[in-house]
Symmetry: C2
Subunit: 321 residues, 2 copies
Amino acid sequence: MKIEEIRLEELNPKKFIEGKIQEISSVIGNGLAISALSGGVDSSVVTILGHKALGNRLKTYFIDNGLMGENEPERVVLLFKELGVNVELVDAKEQFFDALKGITDPEEKREAITQTFYRHVLGRLVKDSGAKFLLQGTILTDVDETVAGIKRQHNVFEQLGIDPEQAFGYKIVEPLIQLRKPAVREVAKTLDLPEEIYKRMPFPGPALVARVIGEVTLEKIETVRKATKIVEEGLHDTEAFQYLAILHADKVTGIKEGKRDYGLQIEIRCWDSKDAITGSPTRLPHDTLYKLAERITTEVSGVVSVTYNITKKPPSTIEAV
Amino acid sequence: MKIEEIRLEELNPKKFIEGKIQEISSVIGNGLAISALSGGVDSSVVTILGHKALGNRLKTYFIDNGLMGENEPERVVLLFKELGVNVELVDAKEQFFDALKGITDPEEKREAITQTFYRHVLGRLVKDSGAKFLLQGTILTDVDETVAGIKRQHNVFEQLGIDPEQAFGYKIVEPLIQLRKPAVREVAKTLDLPEEIYKRMPFPGPALVARVIGEVTLEKIETVRKATKIVEEGLHDTEAFQYLAILHADKVTGIKEGKRDYGLQIEIRCWDSKDAITGSPTRLPHDTLYKLAERITTEVSGVVSVTYNITKKPPSTIEAV
């Protein structure tokens, strides 16, 4: 079934919000639904829409997969508390790291995240809560990329011929599926979500797993998390579409304390883009780049080399995995 | 034994040349010596000094290890023919690729190159020719890095406690061992070598092996050779100290013809440096970088992503392996 896009210029955010609140109410009826909040703009908007439609009949969870940015889970829970939405923090770190053990292929890594998230963690939460529905922030770009065979986005099922009710035991409701990112941001703004949310940089479904080449371990996630924090601090003021750090599996020769050190390499990407469909590397000043490299090689243990990606999308993709 | 450096500012190139010609004559006596020319400024200067000292009693070989830049062997042989020096081209491609099979560790790769070059290929040439001496273009920076334990340079033996006569069956004469690169260039100029030689960019002893992360295969060398050619064409006018392309073993997700393509990544490095001891990435214009990335992803089969290294040396090294 072809999904009809609502373009930014034809979007009436107020009407869209009213319509979606009604739609959610009528689909869920008197039942319970759950929302898995990641703190990204998509899941944040869906959570607020669900909260407005269902009140306490929406259970909102933040699944801590151990793969998020530094202090991300606690920050998001606090932020929504201030918005009047109670979010339960679910510690699922062990389950995710267990599922990722020994996997190096990017699509298999994404699949491990998807199965752990939807089948094991959310499946149990839905069952325990008695909910029959999951509200989910899938947007049109997720569908496009999955259908085109570029990347399997972890929140796309129907278009792949997967029936979530059969596969995981619950139905999925996707209020944002006709929108792309700029339209979602507009809706978020109209919902009075804070700038921290509606301007929030896209963050991939598989989280930091998308930023580790090769097998994912706790140690590697720690390394890429530290590098990510430095990149985010250093590039925050650029207002680029998205910026990120990638940890390579390849090791390169470097020098630490005058001796050979066969060490790690971090790749920085910073994108100019409107919609993530195409993108160009941001023309960052050389001093900004060199300062990032210096901070990363000084502050992140084991890193001896930092690169900046200079390829457009296509042929690159935004994330490396 | 501490080697006494002759600094650029205290070098008298004419006197240096006269002295070295006499020294080579007296060391070799009436015997034969051989020179293994790579086309780099160091081995070119040594070949000319040897030629001036010994005339036909110097045999000069270009060992084609299959790991050089495009058409490099033929170009160097022709150039020296024009200078009146007869160079014999030795095809040793198979021996080098056989020796590299299955090796991924950088130091082991360097060692495989060293052993194949000095023991197997040169060892046989020396034996067949009846020579007892190898003239070699070792410079002080090679010694420093090897002794410091940063990188084992493939032409450094004595300082590692290796007796080449015992190990390979010939003595090594190193006329340039007190000089660093800028001084060698000055000597080359005074010897009337063409600009193509005395301005020639440094090229690593292990050749393109230094630019392939992980196992080296014929196919990977082809890939990095093509990328190298594009980088050299694109950055020739910058007059940077050194610029190079590195092929990673890691694969990254990309898009080709609208489909997912799990492809190769090339890293570009371009160095500002005086002596290779320290270095900074050159502040290349963004357009230059983007054009390189576009050419490489278009013209080099399998490449979907290109990065630019933004780390200083130290903690990086000039080459990746």
